[in-house]
Amino acid sequence: MTGSCPSTLSAMRSGWMSMALGLAALAVALGVPLVGMAQIAPVPEARTPEDDYYRLIRFPLSEQLVLEVGALEMLPDGKLAVATRRGEIYFVDQPLAEDPAQASFHRFASGLHEVLGLAWRDGWLYCVQRCEVTRLRDEDGDGRADLFETVADGWGVSGDYHEYAFGSKFDREGNLWVVLCLTGSFSSEALYRGWCLRITPDGKVIPTCSGLRSPGGIGANAAGDMFYTDNQGPWNGACSLKWLRPGAFLGHPIGNRWYEVAGEVMGPRPKDPQSGSRMMVEAAKIPQLEPPAVYFPYSKMGQSASGIACDLSGGKFGPFTEQLFVGDQTHSTVMRVYLEKVQGHYQGACFPFRAGFGSGSLALQFAPDGSLFVGGTNRGWGSRGPQPYALERVVWTGKTPFEVLRMEARPDGFLLTFTEPVDLATASDKASYRLSTYTYIYQAQYGSPEVDLTQPEIVQIACSPDGQQVRLVLDAMAVGHVHELHLDGVRSARGQSLLHPVAYYTLNYLPGR
């Protein structure tokens, strides 16, 4: 038993630290703002053109409140729930205050094992921890969770740090989706590592997809279909957004040993893909294989794709209604994704959206007012944003940027829709565009360079009468390739260049005539 008198320096130091922690604990219990506690140096402000259209509101950070955001959720009473990698859940009062220093943080729960999913339903806060889905409730009304009920824990954990579990919001059937990272991100040493599971309202586990590698986030589109981001590595040439089509095999075969126990719902185990081939070649041979919907070309569009959120604000977040927003943890950005369905499969284009977040963007969450919360952490990995953690809010200024709104595939080219009318001269000029295509080697080795380069020619350009659409006709469509389109020469009718003059379309399937 330890004595009551600290006699060593470290004991004294930990005593001071403990007292400071205790004060902070008291503060958060009372729900006071943390301005005044030891501050983390804010990100130096440097204005960028993006600020004119989407500004960043940064919550001030303190060293005591370690906001390594793993998940976010809006609560019915207007508070923002923030869950962290340290297993804490804070409720933020006045999260939409124009001056974020007015927001106060109150700790609702702690002691959880790394929360990477939060969803509210019927008075319970559901969280996805490393080893289970737990729902929490404050029974005695003191503002802190008292009941931690295990909803489902039907997957394995071996003790490896990389076995992350991300959780979605509730889908239309009331299920929660959980995506499980591989052991070490390389193998599958415990049950259902590398799989997506659905958790029913009564806690049953339904194996849903196989072939995952290292998820960074999960979210649904406007139609209610679920997607997740996977990271460059074995069998993943670049980071990508993948459709969690129930029954699908999403590319990485090492977790397929669990087909033995998955039962009828997943059907027979798919053939192993041939390493060194191409995704669409293998997809033609393996019916369960679902190719990535959108690639984020490595280093051009980030290096570590993360959280997903869909703009359902009906216009409060600008022109990109019903499009997806995806974070990148390394580049500290949020990217934008437009999806369409071709031959029954999702595919589409990604565009840069917003850079300059304070830490590694991880969790995305839209607020009722149409603003977008972005929570970040870079512990264990590097990020451009220099802060160890961050909580920020992206607010549309009301000014619409000149951007490619949509990029849709056609049998012989693309249809571009812009956010405002284009200048016909520059938009019709082939020299305004630069197009190249490439794909990735689908292989067991880590990642892949861009290969099979082609440079199709634009043979014809047609603009719509209202000037808002441009139809590009190409001399060839490279099926299975990312089509990287630069639009440096295109101007709006008002003479502006595009805010982000580049788009990357993943053309897995060619639309019919």
């Binding site: 604990a25 080893c131 289970e132 931690f148 740090y161 074995p234 880590y446």
Partner: protein, 939 residues
């Protein structure tokens, strides 16, 4: 086919020709650099010049000074100690028929022109001469060593030159771990890889195990020209690889020990230690230490092979002071670790007849020291485990047996000396006998006066040296000789570089421009400890622009010592020797001089130096560019991948290159994961210094130039994050050692703590004092299991906490029966955050409440378990303790192992069972579908 005949009182064993060797035609000399099609093209002067050096032509035919710059001699093996290195039977076979004995050898036959009788006599005398330099010792390889060697061989780089093994020439089955593949691909690019490797074939006719080990430890001592480089192998590694290469010999050999010195509190990681001494042992005891008079602070590791002849159950007992561990076939069987007085642990295994590797690890800190490793088996009473050690068994007729040493005839050896000088051996081979080097008596015309139609190049067996050259080799040599008849021009730097890269087969690992690079057929052998680094972590770096990248100091260091800058890369950069590859240095510098623009010259005054270094320090740290997230720093690990050290950068890299690289890593290393701190030419941290790329790069450079003396950057060293319960309990759910991956730790204000295992649904540990340090999981990536922070850690029984026993005598199940359903249901917190755990077991709902109780300084943990079931429940027991001794103290109190107490209040009387260990069980007695038990732990 083997030839075995007796002559001169010695059993001669001829060469065993393996399947696949063509017997009719002799194999031409095999030179790695010669194999690509481009080299072998008709009349290729460069190919001929390569061969002039590799075949040692210029040892006899002196080149002029300009020609010498273009040719480099591959010196023949130094024979000063060859008697100890090579078996005499092999020496004889090699001298009789070099190309037949060692297909592809570059050693010519120099005695072919002698009449047969005379030839035999000369060979005999030469053998006696060489055997007079020493005689080989014999040892048999060990199984575990050969298995490790198989991995090492395929990992550290041997495959790049020698190909994967087994190969078509070796004709034997692989030891575990070897990968199939013949290393032959059609080489259309003409410059890279191991399209034709130099397979080693069967080495046991030539080398004994100790001889091959000695050779591998310093190849340059025997073959100074560095074509086979020095791999910087640790002695154990050399033995492992040699064991693998000789694994056609028998793989059993008793017991070996390795002895270490150091101060440990638990068994160290032996892989990271260097032994003080190693040797053969006949039993598992402490004599290696005691013989040195050492009684404290040492460790021993024994490795051997057990032979099991009778199948059945074997009980392994290991007793020690201090800690020990026993491994059988790679599985940890008994863990008896820790600092403790003599204590014994035991484990039963069911074994079938066969061979098993055994490893015993032991350490002694202080005080008494003792080690006892015993076993019991079917029909075998307890006895030392050493009695089960396998003894060497010679397999019948499959490989050369140990040879008795050749008895050297001094007359023959003296005649051999004469022949050595006369027939040209001394022209290529250094041999010092009695302190003096034998000098050659051969006279040969200088290189520029050779007639390609005569001498060694004549189509018939050449004299005086017979090289069984293939036609293309002849043509290339002839072309080279014609070219060198007049003084040739100097080589341009890039040409020099290419020639050296071909000569030393750098191209097998390294690419330079579009030249060289790892052949696809052996890609898989390049492995890494950091798979997350992708190909960057496993494939050797490109040499494009390396003359502009690395400093001369560093290049010299790499050439002379090998490189250790990338410890995660399992393929090693070996030591070629500065004298051998030195010419590369000026060539690289000259060729790459202008590849990188000069970095801006930035002067910083002495007063400002400190500020700039501080800025560099800020930029490198976790709130700057976060370099330390990936790169190691002065021996400190990074939190993620362990990329090259930051503190050697300024000695390793040229400043100009550093500036250019930081702005666009991808330009210099395509596919790198390294991000740029200056995307689009702008810094992400405009507030540091003047916010320019040049200043910030300079600041980083100056800061890193302090090397290991640099002040540590922010975020490198993190302290404890002790979780303390003040007035409320604190919960920590994470990987806790002793409680599993679904562990829930609880720290109470009374300074009692527990860990609950939500997988096994059991209380796993109790301890006093500090709760837990969260730093492991809350800094960096958070890998591993954390131990309790405090003291007096009490581990509660493993295995199912509850079980249905038909009667109280039935043994407690080792595992939960598959028909028993269990589910963790979470926990409820009271007003001061103390949890009550909820779970169901076989239809019974359990509420498990844990609270400290008692008085200050005398707190005990009170556990109240409430059971509820809808169906009637019978025969349900809870197991509270498993120990050596459990003694009832009355009133429901029990003393455990004389050290701690447990008190039980329950409706039914607890059951105390004795046997090999004592168990305390409590029957769960239900009334009105409910039951309740109170347990108090006082430890």
């Amino acid at each position: 086919m083997s030839l075995c005949f007796r002559a001169g009182g010695v059993i001669w064993i001829g060469v065993v020709l393996a399947a696949g060797t063509v017997l009719a035609a002799e194999s031409s000399p095999r030179v790695l650099g010669w194999q690509p099609d481009a080299m072998r093209s008709e009349g290729n002067v460069a190919g001929g010049e390569l061969l002039l050096g590799e075949l040692n032509c210029i040892s006899c035919h002196a080149p002029g000074p300009q020609a010498a710059d273009r040719l480099r001699r591959k010196e023949a093996p130094i024979l000063d100690a060859v008697g100890a290195r090579v078996r005499p039977s092999y020496l004889r076979a090699l001298l009789t028929d070099p190309a037949g004995t060692k297909p592809g050898t570059t050693m010519p036959g120099v005695l072919a022109h002698l009449p047969p009788g005379e030839r035999e006599e000369v060979i005999d005398c030469l053998v006696h001469l060489l055997a007079s330099t020493g005689s080989p010792t014999y040892a048999l390889p060990m199984r575990l060593a050969a298995e490790r060697g198989a991995r090492l061989y395929h990992e550290v780089g041997c495959v790049v030159c020698h190909g994967p093994r087994p190969d078509s020439d070796s004709g034997h089955k692989p030891a575990g771990g070897a990968v199939a593949g013949n290393g032959h691909t059609a080489d259309e690019r003409g410059t890279s890889g191991t399209a034709a490797a130099l397979p080693l074939g069967r080495l046991s006719p030539k080398y004994t195990l100790p001889a091959l080990v000695a050779f591998l430890q310093d190849p340059l001592a025997v073959r100074p020209s560095g074509r086979m480089p020095h791999l910087n192998l640790a002695p154990g590694e050399a033995r492992d690889i040699a064991s693998f290469l000789l694994d056609d010999l028998d793989l059993v050999s008793g017991l070996r020990y390795a002895y270490y010195e150091g101060n440990w509190e638990q068994l160290p990681d032996f892989d990271r230690l260097k032994p003080v001494v190693e040797g053969d042992a006949s039993q598992f005891d402490l004599s290696p230490a005691l013989a040195r008079g050492r009684k404290n602070q040492f460790a021993l590791r024994f490795e051997g092979t057990l032979q099991i002849t009778t199948p059945g159950e074997y009980l392994f007992l290991i007793g020690s002071d201090d800690g020990s561990r026993l491994w059988i076939d790679g599985q940890r069987v008994v863990d008896n670790d820790g600092v403790h007085p003599f204590q014994q642990r035991r484990k039963k295994l069911r074994l079938r007849p066969g061979l098993y590797s055994v490893v015993v690890e032991y350490f002694e800190q202080a005080g008494g020291e003792e080690l006892q490793v015993d076993f019991e088996g079917p029909g075998m009473p307890q006895q030392p485990l050493a009695n089960l050690l396998a003894t060497p068994v010679i397999k019948k007729g499959s490989q050369p047996p140990d040879e008795s040493p050749l008895v050297v005839d001094p007359d023959k050896a003296a005649r051999g000396k004469t022949y050595f000088a006369r027939y040209g051996c001394a022209s290529c081979h250094t041999l010092r006998v009695g302190g003096t080097e034998i000098s050659s008596q051969q006279i040969a015309p200088p290189l520029n006066r050779l007639d390609p139609a005569r001498g060694c190049l004549a189509p018939s067996a050449g004299r005086p040296a017979h090289y069984p050259l293939e036609a293309r080799q002849r043509q290339a040599l002839a072309a080279a000789l014609r070219f060198l008849a007049t003084p040739p021009p100097a080589l341009a730097p890039e040409e020099t570089i290419r020639r050296e890269m071909v000569r030393f087969h750098c191209v097998g690992c390294h690419q330079r421009g579009d030249f060289g690079g790892v052949d696809p057929s052996i890609q898989q052998f390049f492995q890494t400890d950091m798979p997350e680094m992708g190909d960057e972590g496993r494939l050797p770096p490109s040499l494009t622009g390396v003359g502009a990248k690395l400093t001369e100091e560093w290049l010299r260091k790499i050439f002379d010592h090998g490189a250790t800058d990338r410890p995660y890369m399992r393929t090693r950069m070996p030591r070629f020797g500065l004298t051998n590859v030195g010419p590369l240095l000026p060539a690289l510098v000259a060729a790459d001089r202008d590849l990188v623009p000069p970095a801006p010259a930035i002067t910083v005054s002495e007063e400002d130096e400190k500020r700039w270094k501080a800025a560099g320090r800020r930029l490198v740290g976790s709130q700057g560019f976060s370099c330390i997230k990936c790169h190691t720093f002065a021996g400190y690990r990074s939190s993620g991948i362990q990329a090259l050290s930051l503190t050697t950068m300024t000695r390793r890299l040229r400043r100009d290159w550093f500036f250019a690289y930081l702005q666009s890593p991808l330009t210099f290393r395509p596919g790198t994961r390294m991000p740029t701190p200056f995307p689009d030419g702008q810094t992400t941290l405009p507030a540091v210094l003047d916010g320019t790329v040049a200043s910030q790069t300079e600041a980083i450079w100056r800061y890193l130039a302090d090397g290991d003396d640099a002040q540590l950057p922010l975020g490198l060293v993190t302290g404890k994050v002790e979780l303390v319960a003040f007035d409320e309990a604190v919960i920590y759910r994470n990987f806790i050692e002793g409680a599993g991956a679904r562990a829930i730790g609880v720290g109470y204000p009374e300074k009692l703590n527990l860990a609950f295992d939500a997988q096994g649904l059991r209380l796993a540990m109790l301890w006093h004092g500090g709760f837990i340090d969260a730093a492991r999981h809350w800094t960096g990536r958070g890998a591993g299991f954390e131990k309790p922070l405090g003291d007096r850690v009490l581990a509660l029984p493993d295995g199912p906490p509850l079980a249905r026993l038909p009667s109280p005598e039935v043994p407690w199940p080792g595992d939960v029966p598959s028909d028993v359903s269990r589910q963790f249901r979470g926990y409820r917190l009271d007003s001061v955050r103390r949890p009550t755990f909820l779970y169901t077991w076989d239809g019974v709902r359990v509420e498990d409440e844990l609270r400290p109780t008692g008085e200050p300084d005398l707190w005990v943990m009170q556990r109240t378990l409430r059971f509820a079931a809808d169906q009637p429940v019978t025969n349900l027991y809870m197991r509270l303790a498993v120990a050596g001794r459990i003694e009832p103290r009355g009133m429901g109190r029990y003393q455990i192992d004389g050290r701690w107490h447990v008190s039980v209040r329950s409706a039914a009387e607890p059951v105390l069972r004795t046997g090999s260990s004592a168990e305390l069980l409590v029957p769960i007695h239900f009334e009105n579908s409910q039951a309740r038990i109170e347990v108090t732990y006082d430890w």
